[in-house]
C-alpha cells in the first residue's frame, strides 16, 4: 500500500485507565466502538466527549467521531 490515510492518536478514558488509539480520519462511529470494545470489560458502554470539566456531549454519529479525530479531543467511556 502506497497511499496512507492520516492517522491521529486519540485517547479514551475508562474507569481508572487511559487507552490510546490510532484512528484514521475517516473512522466511523461503529469502527470506533469496535476498537474500544475489546479493551474494556463490557459490551454495553457509551461514549462522551471528555471536556476539561463537567460532562461532554454523548457521541453517537460518524460526524461527531470525525470531529473528535480532527480536533484531537479526548473520549470518556462509561458503562451503561
Amino acid at each position: 500500500l502506497t497511499t496512507e490515510l492520516k492517522t491521529s492518536k486519540i485517547k479514551f478514558y475508562y474507569k481508572d485507565d487511559i487507552f490510546a488509539l490510532m484512528l484514521k480520519s475517516d473512522t466511523t462511529y461503529k469502527e470506533l466502538r469496535g476498537k474500544i470494545a475489546p479493551r474494556i470489560d463490557t459490551a454495553n458502554f457509551k461514549l462522551q466527549v471528555k471536556p476539561s470539566d463537567g460532562n461532554g456531549e454523548e457521541i453517537k454519529t460518524d460526524s461527531q467521531v470525525n470531529n473528535i479525530i480532527r480536533a484531537k479531543l479526548k473520549i470518556a467511556v462509561y458503562d451503561i
Binding site: K9, I18, F19, A20, M22, P38, R39
Partner: protein
C-alpha cells in the same frame, strides 16, 4: 547514551512495584527489545526478566502501562496498543519508553 540504542530496538525503562514482600519495593530496570516483536514477545521478555531477578518467586505481571508524550500512563495490552506506542516513539524520534508494571 540514546545513540547507543540500535535503530531496530527500543529501550524500555521499567518501574515495578514488587508487592510480594510485606514492604512494597519499587525497582527500576531496563530491557532492550526489538521493534519487530509482538505484544506476546514483549510480555514474555518482561516476565522472564522479572523471574530471573527474583528466583522465580514472583507472580507474572498482569498489567503494563507506558508513558506517552503528555506524561499520561496508557494501557499497553495488545499488539495494537504496542503499535500505537511504537508510532508515538517514531513520531517523537525517541527510542526510550517508560513502562510501569502492575
Amino acid at each position: 547514551f540514546k545513540n547507543s540504542i540500535p535503530e531496530s530496538s527500543i529501550l524500555l525503562r521499567i518501574s515495578y512495584n514488587n508487592n510480594t514482600t510485606s514492604t512494597s519495593i519499587s525497582e527500576i530496570f531496563t530491557l532492550l527489545v526489538e521493534k519487530t516483536w509482538n505484544f506476546d514477545d514483549l510480555i514474555m521478555a518482561i516476565n522472564s526478566k522479572i523471574a530471573n531477578t527474583h528466583n522465580n518467586t514472583v507472580l507474572p505481571i498482569s498489567k503494563i502501562k507506558y508513558q506517552d508524550e503528555d506524561g499520561d500512563f496508557i494501557i499497553l495490552g495488545s499488539d495494537e496498543d504496542w503499535n500505537v506506542a511504537k508510532d508515538m516513539l517514531a513520531e517523537n524520534n525517541e527510542k526510550l519508553l517508560n513502562i510501569r508494571l502492575y
